[in-house]
């Protein structure tokens, strides 16, 4: 009986903790609906009238529809490419299991440990030479190659659980190469593919650095980059617009999270533990 009471107490305590930590988000939502003067004068009070104009102004100022679609394109294409190339490479490297393939796996691991600034300057250079700057599709290809470590590692360890006999049977039936892989092996890798899609989509969606050094035209801004530019433009004064833009920036993933919460958390955990 006491333990039930104790658990109720802990539950209450946790909700208080959560409320204190996350009430700032409510204040942000409230302040994003005030006019300019009100935010500056009295950030605590409720808005006198709801200023949805903050949102319409932010929307048109940052061309949110275009920024949103750019982010979908960037995150979507990058994820697609990274899944295709890393599943193939992970499969082959795992199957070969020779000294050479072990070395290659090690080579693929390096990028996980090193922070972005280590390659930042030359990447901007390489992109300029190959004329990739301000080209979202090309940047997505670069992005996929640059960040493929985790995919190669997770796919190569997942392939170990699939018996070799399967490959051999398929080959006897005359099914080789890409067709064999994508029709027979790849469907069996669904769990790890799901994990990686979750991790990569969130990572790409929120990535600032690559867009920051490779995109200079506002036509191609992604959400984090557009936020950064917006912030630099208005920092320290137009808080009503900045807060509205912040709400708009986090909303898409938040909505997705509400519906796919379970998969997102499972994916994140699986990725962290196996990685």
């Amino acid at each position: 009986m006491t333990s039930v009471l104790k658990n109720r107490g802990i539950e209450l305590g946790l909700w208080v903790f959560v409320l204190i930590l996350f009430s700032p988000l409510l204040f942000i939502a409230v302040n994003s609906l005030k006019d300019f003067g009100e935010v500056l004068m009295d950030p605590i009070a409720l808005p006198k009238t709801l200023q949805f104009a903050n949102y319409t102004e932010t929307w048109s100022e940052s061309a949110y529809h275009r920024v949103f679609l750019n982010t979908v394109l960037f995150a979507g294409v990058s994820t697609l490419i990274v899944i295709v190339i890393t599943s193939m490479a992970g499969y082959k490297l795992s199957r070969l299991n020779s000294k050479g393939s072990q070395m290659l796996l090690l080579l693929f691991t390096i990028a996980i440990m090193l922070p972005f600034p280590v390659v930042m300057i030359p990447i901007a250079q390489v992109a300029a030479w190959l004329d990739l700057k301000n080209n979202l599709l090309a940047i997505s290809v670069l992005n996929a190659g640059f960040s493929c470590s985790l995919g190669v590692l997770l796919f190569s360890s997942a392939v170990k659980a699939i018996p070799r006999e399967l490959d051999e049977c398929a080959e006897m039936d005359g099914c080789y190469g890409y067709r064999m892989f994508f029709q027979i092996i790849f469907p069996l890798l669904k769990p790890v593919t799901g994990t990686l899609v979750v991790i990569y989509v969130i990572r790409y969606w929120n990535d600032l650095m690559l867009p920051l050094i490779l995109i200079t035209k506002n036509k191609f801004y992604t959400i984090p980059l557009s936020q950064m530019i917006f912030f630099n433009q208005f920092s320290n004064n137009r808080w009503n617009l900045l807060l509205a833009s912040g709400v708009m920036a986090v909303l898409p993933l938040l909505i997705l999270y509400v519906f796919t919460q379970r998969y997102i958390i499972q994916g994140i955990v699986a990725g962290a533990v196996k990685g």
């Binding site: 300057i121 493929c148 080789y176 929120n206 994140i268």
Partner: protein, 299 residues
């Protein structure tokens, strides 16, 4: 065994073609956009290149020598290491505590977990400037209303406090992430040792410190690794939260490298800083793996 070797020699040509077909796309893109840039960084680090000029001169180890006299770099190094240590300790304690509490039989635990995890999905830029507002303008507003001392403190513009404010914001953003990993780890722990301990009369706190935490070691190894790596990589958040300020008080090594390269156009010098950061990260990673390997074996 014979069939395998037979197949290898008999079809080695196809094996090679297959290898290229499967591995080349990833290897090519990875080399072009990661390995080559990495090597280029090393080459640039021995030059005085400014990013614009066509010519660059090899100046030997001058960049590396200058680093030792660069107070801003040494300051950023100190900031990054202090931050990494405190952040790693703080977030792991909070995340373990939350995980332990949220694996008890609490009715609304799914909802609690879901809410605590949420900020992990927010991008750094946004988290940075939202908290700049909350710890700055909003706090002053609260102080005017309540006159509570805690709201009167300038959390982001005091050079001693800014470190703790950043740790707080980063923990706010990432604690749910580490919490769900710990929860998964706790669920993997077998029930028997705990039951045996209860029979032997071990109570609450003892159960946790003697049984649960040692068994949680493998998960802790992962989380410590992730949090240190995360801390050493950190900087997009700083760009909008503090901009490295006040002064240079919250400038991490990564942010300093970015500013040196893209604001001061000292690409050569920035490259040498990046090389030092890379070596530092690799050394820290190596020791971590060594320490935790030992722990897991001794368990």
């Amino acid at each position: 065994m014979r069939t395998i070797t037979g197949r290898r020699t008999g079809r080695s040509w196809r094996g090679k073609v297959d290898f290229v077909k499967f591995v080349a796309p990833a290897l090519l893109l990875y080399s072009l956009f990661f390995i080559v840039p990495l090597l280029q960084t090393v080459v640039y680090s021995f030059t005085d290149w400014n990013g614009i000029a066509r010519s660059r001169h090899y100046i030997g180890i001058d960049n590396y020598a200058n680093m030792l006299k660069d107070d801003l770099f040494l300051g950023s190094l100190r900031f990054t290491l202090t931050y990494a240590v405190l952040y790693t300790i703080g977030i792991n304690i909070v995340a373990v505590a939350l995980a332990l509490l949220l694996t008890r039989s609490i009715k609304s635990k799914t909802a609690l977990r879901a809410v605590i995890f949420t900020p992990f999905l927010f991008n750094d830029v946004t988290v940075g400037f939202l908290w700049q507002f909350l710890l700055g303008r909003f706090m002053t507003g609260l102080y005017d209303k309540t006159h509570l001392g805690i709201f009167g403190i300038s959390w982001l513009s005091n050079e001693h406090l800014v470190l703790y404010s950043i740790i707080f914001v980063k923990m706010w953003q990432a604690m749910g992430y580490f919490m769900v990993i710990y929860i998964a780890g706790l669920q993997l722990i077998p029930k028997e040792p705990l039951e045996a301990a209860v029979i032997d009369g071990a109570t609450g706190w003892k159960q946790i410190t003697r049984i649960t935490l040692p068994l949680l070691m493998p998960t802790m190894a992962i989380c410590v690794f992730l949090s240190i790596t995360d801390a050493l990589h950190m900087f997009p958040l700083l760009m909008t939260l503090t901009g490295g300020g006040p002064g240079h008080a919250s400038e991490s090594v990564s942010l300093y490298i970015y500013n040196t390269a893209f604001n001061n156009q000292q690409m050569g010098y920035a490259s040498s800083l990046a090389v030092v950061l890379a070596v530092l990260v690799l050394i820290i990673t190596y020791f971590q793996l060594k320490v935790f390997r030992g722990k897991e074996v001794s368990m």
